[in-house]
């Protein structure tokens, strides 16, 4: 066990004029998650500290936040990896509702804008549609997205222009564009060829580094760009 200091950005628009940083000292195990440490503060020191969390093992996407300046899931970072002075702040680019909780509505609106659902109006066979192992592998990486927003809120192009559809939405479009069973790739490519689409991406790689699921996001965006240029995803 050792003592660490958490420096947390606090802001309750109901009560505060501006965000402030508050410090909390907590006894931790090196293998504790940052989320466990936040819980220790909330449960035993200051119940007003507010953040989202659910699964506690990196699969639900609730607790993306800035930890020492980088976007991480609090439940997927261990205390031994963050040092004795830890700064915790909300994601950048979305309105703060309270403390580490940001307004996710614009994020989900971006997601919904790319037709993030399977489209194929042809009558399906009696049994499953067939798909080869290779064709299934083609979009495997982008099926891993948990919509945590760590990528989009790490992107300088998004900070500069909040109308940019953002990496997460492109990842979810990619998941369908490259699925051989889907029939609406062309429509999605057209949406992403828009001013606020893929071309805002400047290949900075922040998104790829931020992704807790280790999705190769910049590569996926590149594939979408290429598909737009060639006019097809099936090349």
């Amino acid at each position: 066990m050792s003592m660490v200091t958490l420096r947390i950005q606090r802001f309750n628009p109901e009560a505060d004029a501006a965000p402030v940083y508050r410090e909390y000292t907590v006894e931790v195990d090196p293998t504790d998650r940052v989320l466990d440490t936040l819980n220790a503060v909330k449960w035993y020191q200051d119940g007003t500290l507010t953040y989202r969390r659910s699964c506690a093992h990196g699969v639900c996407g609730s607790d993306a936040m800035r930890i020492n300046g980088v976007n991480r899931l609090a439940c997927k970072v261990l205390m031994r990896d963050v040092g004795a002075q830890v700064t915790v702040e909300p994601l950048m680019g979305f309105r703060v509702i309270k403390d580490l909780v940001v307004d996710m509505e614009p994020f989900f609106a971006q997601f919904r804008s790319v037709l993030p659902f399977f489209i194929n109006d042809a009558r399906p066979p009696e049994r499953e549609r067939l798909q080869s192992v290779e064709d299934r592998e083609r979009f495997d990486d982008t099926t891993k997205c948990i919509l945590c927003a760590a990528c989009t809120t790490s992107c300088p192009s998004f900070w500069a222009n909040e109308d940019f559809v953002g990496p997460a939405a492109i990842v979810n479009a990619h998941r369908f564009i490259f699925d051989t069973r889907d029939a609406a790739a062309a429509e999605r490519l057209e949406i992403l060829n828009d001013r606020e689409g893929v071309w805002r991406c400047r290949t900075i790689f922040n998104c790829t580094e931020a992704c807790p699921r280790e999705i190769k996001i910049t590569k996926a965006i590149g594939e979408v760009k290429k598909a737009i240029l060639y006019g097809t995803a099936r090349a």
């Binding site: 200051d46 119940g47 007003t48 507010t50 659910s54 919904r112 399977f118 399906p124 891993k144 998941r175």
Partner: protein
């Protein structure tokens, strides 16, 4: 501020069960449907499910729904209702194909079909040996189901109320009239008035200290139901999954053993050969979890500690990286070990509620042993007890339960809403909620933190109402839980604001957990036999003469818990001794 909404149908919970129902409801454009969830839909714990979803597709070898049904009945230790089980296993094939048609990216066989792998308790020819029945998408099957259903809900324009926490159900005169919800963002109360209401709120693993369940799995649904006079069925049966990560409880899917992983004790021995000669590491979960606990009890845990090894090192990097990538990631992140090279330290972890809100095969909530229906109320998924899992659930059968009975719920509610009249709203529908929240805020200072009460509850339940149960231990747990309930009256909520007050909501959730801990323990003490997940030292045999029946726990007007019974439906498979 109180807001009122009127809908035909409400779906409470946006996990697999809730969203499957919502999709079916949304197919009728004349119906107004709302889906209310305390989490964003994609945060639901269905997304954590790893291993697979069971269906006798026979994509890789011979298989039949009857075999699946037999395995499920046997797995349930003969407490499952066989009419419901037959329905589930028969509809399984069709519902998996439907998920594929909705776009679900299953892993594939070399000839392009949905891939399948072996799982605990799933056999060919009525128990002869393992069969490949679990349909999977790598080790994130639940994630893919949750995403696919959410995507289809968006496609169909489902009306979502995200981060609305349902805190009460309006039942009056034997008719359900909707729910009361707390809008997390504003702290305002919303009355959702409807003809048909589905509870699909998931499980309550947070009653125990070592659990695979999310922080959000606090059993709000069953606790609300119980307070509204709805009984809970078979609450003594709670499943401990054999393989949780030591101390953290994070699940390591049975798929690891399905792919060939082996359990070993401190001597390196494959001890499951002694407990289950045919199925070995793939025996059903209650059997494997008990065997692990027995090894630990007898001093054969690793270095005498409370864990054993799950060894996958012989599977090779290819299988682990391609078929079990998330498991590898969990081990690297939380344990700092590489499962390709080192065995995983595991212990049983509180996992799944077999019991819950009693329903009939169309998911209608029933109120008593005679099957009296509560008009307008439905339940599906882990919160419900149909009962397809009886005393012990087989792996892959929960995801299946969600989609089969979620679909049945959607269909039944749609039929009901087409002809039903809108019921009236009770007078002062929020009074009970305001009183309850008022009480939580009554202690201005000097009270006890909810977290301390919760930890004490989790510890006593883990030690005494877990895998091995004794009368004295259960009685001790019951006394302790009742003491905690008394102390809960002075719980300290520090956050006094309205906006996003998760401090207050966590305290409210603790009240639910305490109620469920009490019911679970009372039912466990009451059942003087051992069956499935319920194992006690003083009655260590199954007793079909006296106990081949479901228990129903009732609480009337805050009075003591009363238990009565409901018969088990037995159609094809007569109870036999269980050997794996």
């Amino acid at each position: 501020m109180i807001h009122t909404h009127h809908y035909d149908a409400l779906v409470v919970g946006a996990g697999g069960a809730g969203m499957m129902a919502a999709i079916y409801l949304s197919r009728n454009p004349d119906l107004k449907t709302a889906c209310i969830s305390k989490l964003y839909p994609t945060r639901s714990h269905t997304g954590a499910a790893q291993g697979g979803i069971g269906a006798a597709l026979a994509n890789l070898e011979e298989d039949h729904p009857e075999w699946h049904a037999f395995d499920t009945v046997k797995g349930s230790d003969y407490l499952g209702d066989q009419d419901a089980i037959e329905t589930m296993c028969t509809e399984a094939v069709d519902v998996i194909v439907e998920l594929e048609h909705m776009g679900l990216p299953f892993s594939r066989t070399p000839d392009g079909k949905i891939a399948q792998r072996p799982f605990g308790g799933h056999t060919h020819h009525f128990g002869e040996g393992p069969v490949r029945r679990s349909c999977y998408a790598a080790d994130r099957t639940g994630h893919m189901i949750l995403q696919t259903l959410y995507q289809n809900c968006i496609k169909n324009g489902v009306d979502f109320y995200d981060e609305f926490q349902v805190v009460d159900v309006m039942v009056e005169g034997g008719v359900c009239r909707g729910v009361v919800a707390w809008h997390v963002h504003t702290g305002d109360l919303h009355v959702f008035h409807a003809k048909a209401t589905l509870f699909a709120t998931g499980g309550f693993g947070r009653v125990w200290s070592i659990t695979s369940n999310a922080h959000a799995n606090t059993g709000d649904g069953p606790a609300i139901a119980l307070r509204a006079g709805i009984p809970l069925e078979d609450m003594e049966f709670y499943q401990f999954h054999p393989t949780g990560i030591y101390r953290l409880g994070i699940l390591i899917t049975e798929g690891v053993r399905g792919e060939g992983g082996i359990l070993r004790n401190d001597h390196g021995e494959r001890f499951m050969e002694r407990y289950a000669p045919t199925m070995k590491d793939l025996a059903s979960r209650d059997v494997v979890a008990r065997a692990i606990s027995q090894e630990i009890k007898e001093g054969r845990g690793i270095n005498g500690k409370k864990y054993v090894y799950l060894d996958a090192t012989h599977l090779g990097a290819d299988v682990i990286e391609n078929k079990l990538p998330d498991i590898a990631d969990f081990c690297r992140t939380y344990l700092g070990i590489d499962p390709v090279k080192e065995p995983m330290p595991i212990q049983p972890t509180a996992h799944y509620a077999m019991g819950g809100i009693p329903t009939d095969i169309d998911t209608q909530v029933i109120l008593d042993a005679h099957g009296t229906v509560l008009t307008g109320m439905y339940a599906a998924g882990e919160v419900a007890c149909v009962s397809v899992h009886g005393a012990n659930r087989l792996g892959t059968n929960s995801l299946l339960d969600l989609v089969v009975f979620g679909r049945r719920a959607g269909l039944a509610m749609e039929r009901f809403c087409r002809t039903a009249e809108m019921p009236g709203i009770p007078a002062d529908p929020t009074a009970r909620t305001e009183a309850r929240f008022g009480a939580l805020l009554a202690t201005e200072s000097g009270g006890e933190p909810a977290a301390r009460l919760r930890e004490e509850m989790q510890d006593v339940m883990q030690d005494n109402v877990g895998i091995f149960r004794t009368a004295a231990g259960m009685q001790h747990a019951l006394d302790k839980v009742r003491e905690l309930k008394a102390r809960f009256a002075k719980v300290q909520v520090m956050d006094r604001g309205k906006r996003f007050n998760t401090d207050l909501l966590e305290a409210w959730e603790l009240g639910n957990l305490l109620d469920l801990a009490e019911v679970t323990t009372v039912c466990a003490l009451n059942r003087t036999e051992s069956r499935g997940a319920h194992m006690r030292d003083d009655f260590d045999k199954r007793n079909d003469v006296e106990w081949l029946k479901h228990s129903l726990a009732h609480v009337e007007d805050g009075g003591p818990i009363r238990i009565d019974y409901k018969p088990v439906s037995i159609t094809r498979f007569q109870p036999k001794e269980r050997v794996y």
